[in-house]
Amino acid sequence: MSAIITPGRRPAYAPIGRLRSSPLSGGKKSGFASLNLTAMVDMFTILVIFLIQMFNTSGEVTLSDKIQVPKSLSGALLEEPGTVIMLDDDGSMLLDSETIPASEMGTELDIVIPGMSRLLKERREFDLDIKKRRGEPADPTQPYDGVIIIQADIKTDFRQVRRVLASANDAGWAKIKFVTIPMKAIDPNAPKTEAAGG
């Protein structure tokens, strides 16, 4: 037959016990209770580190609620920042949240969108000018290394996308990225596939 062992006081009760028996309070209860904050501070620190990591992984691109982007299996993790062009299914376009004036949209028969081509040329020249001032002039034999990130709705008419691509080409932008949602989780440390050419 085993003996019944009465457990001692738990550490959490210790401050209360001390309060009751405090010689300074003269038998009265003091309102002061020490709270152990170490665990909470630890948790906060871990949470902050985790959130900072999440903050860094996706670059500057955020998905718009209005635009439903397509899904992909072979897409690489989008990390490189660039100029974001949003295309809605109703034909509206935004270039880094900047609306292209209706007067510069051109007609349906135009391959190039004049307003978009103008804005992209301005950005390219501005960027090249900054690089030149920094002492990093662009190699004239190489195409401009700026990136255009196209975030288009799945229902967008391909004609609009084609016009955007033609405008980018007209302005001298070579690198295009189509934003997609990966169907499987992408390992950020996985080796990247060869860049497409064509």
Partner: protein
């Protein structure tokens, strides 16, 4: 949190130093709230395409000894797909009801990749009026099967065969 400091000369004089953690916790709370709002929880991927910018052509164009194999072309039309390397050998893949038949298209692309394992280029010619998603699906499929290079083309809807009707964009895509 309290820090106990032993002091004095031999006598056990203890001083309870209270570290004020309230500002630290306030700061952490604000930081966590900000980061939770600013963090992007959805992974974003991208399919990369590089356009060839029209520069001055080279003075001498080297002619290969053997004629090159024409690239695999996938024509995305409103009524379905057309796939082939030559006009006369192309295969129509009509829609299965309202949706495109990607199972059949994938089968044909895999077969082509087995026949021409060295070839890397796919021309995706998408008609105007076709949803952008259909072009991305074909692009994604070509990358998954093993064609790393893509030329995007497009133009007005045409019943003509791709080799004749394809209108590559300036500089390709």
């Amino acid at each position: 949190m309290s820090v106990s400091v032993e002091g004095g000369k031999g006598r056990g004089k203890s001083m309870g130093v209270e570290l004020n953690l309230v500002p630290f916790i306030d700061f952490m709370s604000c930081l966590i709230a900000f980061l939770m709002i600013a963090a992007v929880w959805t992974q974003i991927a991208s399919l990369d395409v590089e356009q060839s910018i029209s520069n001055t052509p080279p003075d001498v164009i080297e002619q290969p000894e053997t004629p090159p194999v024409p690239p695999l072309t996938v024509h995305v039309k409103a009524e379905g797909h057309w796939i082939g390397r030559k006009v006369e050998e192309g295969i129509q893949v009509p829609k299965a009801g309202e949706t495109y038949d990607y199972t059949k298209l994938e089968e044909l692309m895999k077969k082509d990749h087995e026949t021409y394992p060295v070839e890397e280029m796919v021309v995706i010619n998408t008609d105007d009026g076709v949803p952008y998603e259909e072009m991305v699906k074909v692009l994604d499929m070509s990358r998954t099967i093993g064609y790393p290079k893509t030329l995007l083309a497009g133009g007005a809807p045409s019943a003509a065969l791709p080799a004749a009707g394809a209108a590559p964009m300036p500089g390709g895509g």
